[in-house]
C-alpha cells in the first residue's frame, strides 16, 4: 500500500500551503497601518473566496455563454446551436424530459415528504422513522443508480425474477417489464429514483416547520370542529408556507442539474436524456462544445427565475434587518 503514503503526503503538503497562505493574510491584516486597516481586513478576508468564485464560476459562466454561439471548431455560428436544440428530435426529447423531471420531482418529493412528516409527527420512534427516509440523502447518485438497477432488474418471462418489482408483477400474473428500456415511461422510473432521494430532504425541513406551528392554532381549529384534513389544510399548510417554498425551490434546482442518475442508469439512451446529461455528452463525448454550452445556457435560463425570486426575498429580509 505504498501509494497511500504518497497520496497522503500530497494532502499534507496542500494543507500546509493553505495554512501558510491564510497565515500570511492574517499577518497582513493585523500589521496594516491604522488608516487602511478596515480596507485591508475586508480585502484580506474576502479576496481568497472572491478570486476562487470569479475564476471558478463567474468567468466560466461568461465564457460558456459566448461558447454557445460557436460551432465545433470554435467559429461563430449565430444561433445554430439553439436551432439544433429546438428542432432535432433527440434534442427535443431531452428538453421534454427535463420539463417532466422538474415538474414531477419537486411535486412528488414534497408531497411524500410532507405526508410522512405529518404522519410521524410526535409518533413513537420518530427519530428512527425519519432516519429511514432520510438515509438516501447520504447515498451518492451513482450508488442510488446501482440500488435501483437491482430493484428494476429484468429477466425474460418464465424465468425467476431477481428484481423486486418484477417479482411482484410475476406474482400478480403480469408479464415482467423492462423498466429502463421502454420509452417513454422509463423516464418516470428514473424520476422515482430522484424522488426517493429528495423526499428525505423535504421531510426533514417540513417536519421542523410543522413543529414550529403554534399548538394553540391547531387546538383552536380542532375545537371549532375542523377534522384532521381541515386542520392540516387551513392551519398547518399556511403555517409552513415559507418552508414549502424553500423545499420546492431547492429540489427544483437540484432536479434541473440532475446528471448522475441518468448517466449511471441509462447513460441517456432509450430517450431518457435530460439537459444536464446531454450537455456533458455533447461537450465531452461528441466533440461539440458549442452545443454543450448552448444547453448549459438554456439550463441557466431555466433556473434564472428562481434566482431572481430568491434574491428578492433575501433583499427584503436584509432590509427588515
Amino acid at each position: 500500500m505504498e501509494f497511500v503514503g504518497e497520496k497522503l503526503l500530497q494532502v499534507v503538503i496542500a494543507l500546509a500551503i493553505f495554512a501558510a497562505v491564510i497565515g500570511i493574510i492574517m499577518l497582513l491584516v493585523d500589521r496594516a497601518p491604522k488608516s487602511v486597516k478596515d480596507k485591508v481586513t475586508v480585502a484580506g478576508f474576502l479576496a481568497p473566496a472572491a478570486i476562487l468564485m470569479l475564476v471558478g464560476l463567474v468567468y466560466p459562466a461568461v465564457r460558456t455563454s459566448m461558447l454557445a454561439f460557436t460551432d465545433a471548431s470554435g467559429n461563430g455560428n449565430g444561433f445554430d446551436n439553439f436551432v439544433w436544440m429546438f428542432t432535432q428530435p433527440e434534442a427535443l426529447t431531452t428538453l421534454r424530459n427535463t420539463v417532466i423531471w422538474t415538474i414531477l420531482v419537486p411535486l412528488l418529493s414534497t408531497s411524500f415528504g410532507l405526508a410522512y412528516a405529518v404522519f410521524i409527527d410526535k409518533a413513537r420512534g420518530e427519530r428512527v422513522l425519519k432516519s429511514l427516509v432520510f438515509m438516501p440523502m447520504a447515498i451518492s447518485f451513482v450508488g442510488a443508480g446501482i440500488i435501483w438497477k437491482l430493484v428494476y432488474d429484468y429477466r425474460g418471462p418464465n424465468i425467476e425474477q431477481t428484481g423486486v418489482i418484477n417479482f411482484f408483477r410475476d406474482a400478480l400474473g403480469m408479464d415482467p417489464k423492462q423498466f429502463l428500456l421502454d420509452a417513454p415511461e422509463n423516464t418516470i422510473f428514473l424520476i422515482i429514483v430522484m424522488v426517493w432521494i429528495q423526499t428525505g430532504f423535504a421531510m426533514v425541513i417540513l417536519s421542523a416547520a410543522i413543529k414550529g406551528v403554534p399548538v394553540e392554532l391547531i387546538e383552536a381549529a380542532r375545537l371549532d370542529g375542523a377534522n384532521a384534513w381541515q386542520q392540516f389544510r387551513n392551519v398547518t399548510v399556511p403555517g409552513i408556507r415559507g418552508a414549502l417554498v424553500v423545499v420546492l425551490t431547492t429540489i427544483t434546482i437540484a432536479t434541473l442539474k440532475v446528471f448522475d442518475i441518468v448517466r449511471t442508469m441509462t447513460a441517456g439512451n432509450y430517450d431518457t436524456s435530460v439537459v444536464a446529461n446531454e450537455m456533458y455528452t455533447q461537450a465531452f463525448r461528441a466533440g461539440e462544445p458549442g452545443r454543450g454550452a448552448a444547453l448549459a445556457l438554456v439550463l441557466f435560463l431555466m433556473v434564472l427565475p428562481i434566482v431572481v425570486y430568491n434574491a428578492r426575498v433575501l433583499r427584503k429580509q436584509r432590509e427588515i434587518h
Binding site: 427516509v133 451518492s140 447518485f141 423486486v164 417479482f167 399548538v215 424553500v246 448517466r263
Partner: protein, 321 residues
C-alpha cells in the same frame, strides 16, 4: 385495559396529551378520541408503508452484496430475498472489490484512498474560506456589501455544467496544472462549494450577538483575533453541519470527478470507478453491489454519526431563506 374507557378516563388522557387544553371544554371526549385514533391508525399505516418502500431498496443492495456470484447472475440466480431461505452468504465479493488483482479488478481500495484525499482538503478549504467571507459579509462595513452578498447567493445557482469546460481550459492552458492531479479537483470543488458555504455560515454568524464582538473590540482585539478566537468557536454547530454537507457532496460527486480527474485511476474517486463498473455489463456484475456498499459506507457513517448537526445545518440555511 378496557375496550371502552370511561369518559372521565378519556378526558384525563386527553389532558395528559395536550397539557394546554382545558378539560372542561372536552364536551365529547369519547367521540373525539375514537376519531383521532382512527386517523392516526391510517396515518401510521401510511407512514409504515413509506418507511418500508424507502428502505427496501438499500436493504436489498446490502443483502445482495453478501450473496455468492452464482446466486446473483446466471441460471441458478434468484432474488435477494431468497438469501434468507438459502442462508448462503459470503465475504468474497468484498475481498474481490477491495484487493488489486489484475487489470480487470475493481481495485476499489485505491479509489477509496483517492476519495479521502480529495474530500479532506476540500472540506478544510471551504470551511475556512467561507467562514472568513461570511464573517466580513456579516460584520464588516464596506460599500456594496449587501449587493455583493446577494450576488454570491445567486452564484449558487449557476449549473456546474456551465462552468466545467472553461474551467478545465483555464486549469490546463493558463495555470498548467498537470492533468490528472488532485490540485484540479481540490480547486474545482472548493470553487463550487463556496457560494452555499458562505450563505449557510452567514446566516449563523450574523446572529452572533453584536455585544460579544464589540466587547472584544473594546479590549483591543483586531479582526483576525475576533475571527479565530470568538467567531469560529461560537460557530461550531454551523461549521459542523457545513462540513458534513461538503463532505457528502464531494464524496458523492461524479460530474466534477469525470471532468477533472483526467480519466485515469491515479486520482479518480470511488464514485467514478463505481460508475465505470456499473456501466459495463459483464461477468463481474455480481461485484457491483459490494462495490456500491463500500462507497456508501463512509457517507452513511458520517451521516448517522453527525445527523444532529446535519439537520440543524439544513435548517439554518433553509427556513430563513
Amino acid at each position: 385495559m378496557t375496550a371502552t374507557p370511561a369518559p372521565k378516563e378519556a378526558s384525563k388522557a386527553a389532558t395528559r396529551q395536550r397539557p394546554g387544553s382545558d378539560p372542561t371544554e372536552d364536551a365529547q371526549p369519547i367521540m373525539r378520541r375514537v376519531k383521532t385514533k382512527l386517523t392516526s391508525k391510517w396515518a401510521t399505516a401510511a407512514a409504515i408503508i413509506i418507511a418500508v418502500v424507502w428502505s427496501v431498496p438499500t436493504f436489498g443492495l446490502f443483502v445482495t452484496s453478501f450473496r455468492p456470484a452464482a446466486k446473483q447472475i446466471g441460471p441458478r440466480s434468484n432474488g435477494w430475498w431468497n438469501a434468507f431461505v438459502d442462508w448462503d452468504f459470503t465475504f468474497k465479493n468484498y475481498a474481490d472489490v477491495l484487493t488489486p488483482a489484475g487489470s480487470q479488478s475493481a481495485n476499489l481500495s485505491q479509489y477509496f484512498v483517492n476519495s479521502i484525499a480529495i474530500v479532506i482538503p476540500v472540506t478544510v478549504f471551504v470551511l475556512v474560506l467561507a467562514s472568513m467571507a461570511a464573517y466580513i459579509f456579516a460584520w464588516g462595513k464596506f460599500k456594496g456589501r449587501d449587493a455583493l452578498f446577494i450576488f454570491v447567493f445567486a452564484l449558487q445557482i449557476i449549473p456546474l455544467q456551465m462552468a466545467l469546460i472553461p474551467l478545465l481550459q483555464f486549469f490546463t492552458q493558463t495555470l498548467h496544472l498537470p492533468a490528472g492531479s488532485y490540485a484540479q479537483l481540490w480547486l474545482a470543488h472548493t470553487m463550487f462549494g463556496l457560494p452555499l458555504g458562505i450563505f449557510l455560515l452567514h446566516n449563523f454568524i450574523s446572529e452572533i450577538p453584536g455585544e460579544v464582538i464589540e466587547a472584544a473590540r473594546v479590549d483591543g482585539a483586531g479582526h483576525s483575533t475576533i475571527f479565530w478566537r470568538i467567531i469560529l468557536p461560537l460557530s461550531v454547530p454551523a461549521l459542523a453541519s457545513l462540513a458534513i454537507f461538503q463532505f457528502l457532496w464531494v464524496w458523492n460527486d461524479l460530474l466534477v470527478a469525470l471532468v477533472f480527474s483526467g480519466g485515469t485511476g491515479d486520482v479518480a474517486p470511488i464514485t467514478q470507478r463505481l460508475a465505470e463498473l456499473s456501466g459495463t455489463r459483464g461477468a463481474r456484475d455480481y461485484l457491483n453491489p459490494a462495490a456500491a456498499f463500500v462507497s456508501i459506507i463512509i457517507p452513511l457513517l458520517v451521516f448517522f454519526g453527525l445527523q444532529r448537526y446535519f439537520v440543524r445545518g439544513l435548517l439554518s440555511g433553509g427556513l430563513k431563506g
